[in-house]
């Protein structure tokens, strides 16, 4: 095995080392306060609204957002931007329907909210299935993305890149729990914003800080032969009904992502929960506006001849643009700018995977181990230990799958699947548990199963799995079915499962337990408190 590829970028290695040193310092500091479950899962509920807003941004803006969307905009123009709109508007769904209620009603996991009024064991199993499915697809996608990017940017072999990413991610989670994860996410959000703002200033400087001029130049460059770039829709997302399905999954999926919802358990109260959403909206909204500047800048500056170097999905368009803005390949400025942007991308991946592993391990330790296997008889210390073991196992499995699946796994397809499962399985059950008096255990279990099974089943028969190009209708083995994103069918099925399960079963006690959940979620009376710092 060749550990090092031919050209290793030493500047990038130095930048990576600095980022790793900072995050390990945070982890060492946090490790002293990760001994209880409240600290390990929820950072003692002592994160402020602004800090949490930054951490949500750090948790949410994955490498798929930074490099993937900038790349799609570079290649296709408008259609790449469409993703960002869905990712952003989704925070209104989170804010209006779930953020404060989750904070008031939950403890450590989304299963806590269901178990509050439903029969505990089936409710927790159902929620854990939803959480683990979403986290698994999202995590493997991010690990593969990390491997590919680090391999290309730094010149380290794919397998080693995945191992490095996985090892550091596990360090943060196992030694530092939610405290370390939160601060790694905050540092990452700050680095990412600085990186994209500096890059945007460089790009805008070339067009006299006139955004319209940037549109004009990108369009002119996009008229080159074989270019797919367009300022209108339809160059990437070619199948209209599939576009609608994707749009729906994006706007509802965020409200079912366990690693995002878990962040609301880290703040002291509902007021901080909602202010953190608005902070995140500002950061994420600004970020997505700037990805357009990066994508258009790449189109105007790199042009059609940069397409090959940008790789599959255009993921390397942003780093290549950075190199060009710094002075070009081989120059000191070019190397440095490329290394910094690669380092930012690396920090981005680390922060997202740490959040995902933490949410998955909390589902295993808190919902399955403590509540179902040990029936609540175990100590707090044992649960933290179980969570750490779960994190190590989940991390190891994700690394193995990422390495075995290798670069062949389609990253954006897996992220889309994670959003579709989140929107179809987690979101309906959570929303109805909090707002529908009649909702019961059977409804929650059938809803989650309908959501997970239909989303997975439809993905398996989708054209993209059977070799059709993304967005092209009537391809693949099942020509009668041409949706690449299952949301349009699986989300209604998730709600239908909740409804049918509830109406066809006779369990009525859940209406009684609804009173407490309802009052608690609306007022915060009886909600979990922040714990004092030692």
């Amino acid at each position: 095995m060749t550990v090092f590829a031919a050209s290793i970028n030493t500047t990038a290695v130095v930048v990576f080392a600095i980022i790793l040193a900072i995050t390990l310092g945070i982890t060492y500091w946090a490790s002293k306060r990760a001994s209880s479950t409240a600290q390990f899962y929820a950072a003692g509920r002592g994160i402020t609204g602004t800090q949490n807003g930054l951490a949500i941004s750090g948790d949410y803006l994955s490498a798929a957002s930074f490099l993937g969307i900038a790349g799609l905009i570079y290649l296709y123009g408008f259609d790449g931007f469409l993703y960002s709109i869905g990712f952003l508007v989704a925070f209104l769904t989170v804010m209006f329907l779930l953020a404060e209620r989750m904070r008031n009603a939950g403890k450590y996991t989304i299963a806590d909210v269901l178990a509050f009024r439903l029969r505990e064991r089936p409710a927790r199993v159902a929620a854990a299935i939803g959480t683990l499915n979403v986290a698994a697809f999202y995590l493997i996608a991010q690990m593969v993305g990390a491997g590919v990017l680090i391999e290309k940017l730094v010149g380290i072999d794919f397998t080693l890149s995945v191992l490095i990413t996985g090892t550091f991610m596990l360090c943060y989670v196992v030694f530092g729990g939610m405290v370390a994860t939160t601060w790694v996410q905050i540092v990452k959000a700050v680095l990412l914003m600085i990186g994209i703002v500096v890059m945007s200033i460089f790009v805008l400087n070339k067009v006299g800080f006139n955004p319209i001029e940037l549109f004009n130049r990108a369009e002119a460059a996009g008229k080159a032969e074989e270019s797919t770039f367009s300022l209108g829709p339809g160059t990437f997302l070619k199948n209209p009904i599939d576009t609608v399905s994707l749009g729906l999954a994006l706007v509802l999926g965020t409200a079912g992502l366990p690693h995002i919802l878990m962040r609301f358990f880290t703040v002291p109260n509902a007021k901080a929960a909602r202010s953190s959403v608005v902070t995140a909206m500002f950061i994420i909204g600004f970020f997505y506006l700037l990805t357009t500047v990066i994508g258009f800048g790449a189109r105007a500056i790199l042009g059609q001849k940069g397409v090959e170097a940008a790789g599959k999905g255009g993921n390397l368009a942003a780093p290549n643009l950075a190199e060009s803005l710094g002075g070009g390949a081989g120059t000191t400025g070019g190397d440095l700018f490329l290394a910094v942007i690669a380092g930012v991308a690396f920090a981005t991946i680390l922060a997202v995977v740490a959040g995902l592993v933490l949410s998955a391990s909390s589902a295993v330790a808190h919902d399955i181990w403590s509540s179902i296997i040990r029936k609540g008889q175990n100590s707090d210390r044992e649960e933290v230990m179980a969570a750490k073991i779960a994190a190590l196992s989940i991390g190891a499995i994700a690394m193995v799958i990422a390495i075995l699946g290798g670069e062949g796994l389609n990253v954006s397809f897996m992220v889309g699947l994670a959003f579709a499962i989140a929107a179809s399985a987690n979101f309906p059950a959570l929303l109805l548990a909090l707002t529908w008096r009649r909702f019961n255990t059977v409804g929650a279990v059938t809803g989650v199963l309908f959501g997970v099974v239909s989303a997975l089943g439809l993905i398996i028969i989708s054209p993209i799995v059977w070799g059709g190009p993304p967005g092209a209708p009537d391809t693949g083995a099942f020509t009668w079915y041409d949706l690449n994103n299952p949301g349009l069918i699986s989300i209604p099925l998730g709600f239908l499962g909740c409804f049918l399960g509830t109406m066809l079963s006779t369990e009525r006690e859940t209406e009684h337990s609804y009173h407490e959940l309802y009052v608690r979620s609306e007022t915060g009376l009886g909600a979990e408190r922040a714990v004092a710092r030692s």
Partner: protein, 147 residues
């Protein structure tokens, strides 16, 4: 780490936080006019707000999917209708987000505080510890101040 106020060896103590606060009369709070007003006011913003943002967003998505020519039309030089509509989504998110935040601070929080003020004394850390030690704590409604 903060030590729990109740003895750890006790099985119930370890689960104290999970136990419903049985001495709080949740149904009475739910029936109170303050709570009803809170829920009504919140709902009268959130429900139309959700319908509006989902319609505006899905409308945009449907146009992007089915009305390519319209979305590609020029507004000014390289700026297309599609990008203008996309920018309205950004404005919508920030405006609705801030509107909700202000409303929650000014209207919902005071109403929520009013709805639960008779009961918050049962929701202090000391009361929680007592709740664990002497469960079941029988607090009759006559003991509740303000009744």
């Amino acid at each position: 780490m903060a030590e729990p106020l109740a003895p750890k060896s006790d099985d119930q103590a370890a689960r104290a936080d999970d136990a419903p606060h049985q001495d709080i009369d949740w149904e009475a709070i739910e029936a109170s006019p303050e709570f009803q007003e809170l829920v009504h006011k919140r709902r009268s913003f959130v429900v139309p707000g959700t319908i509006f943002f989902l319609s505006w967003y899905m409308g945009f998505i449907v146009l992007a999917a089915y009305a390519e020519d319209f979305m590609s039309e020029r507004v000014y030089q390289g700026l297309t209708v599609g990008y203008c509509l996309a920018l309205t989504q950004f404005v919508m998110v920030l405006v609705l987000g801030i509107m909700y935040l202000r409303r929650a601070d000014r209207v919902y929080d005071p109403l929520a505080a009013k709805a639960i003020e008779r009961w918050t004394y049962l929701d202090t850390d000391a009361a929680r510890a007592r709740h664990v030690e002497e469960r079941p704590v029988a607090i009759t409604t006559s003991e509740v101040p303000g009744r």
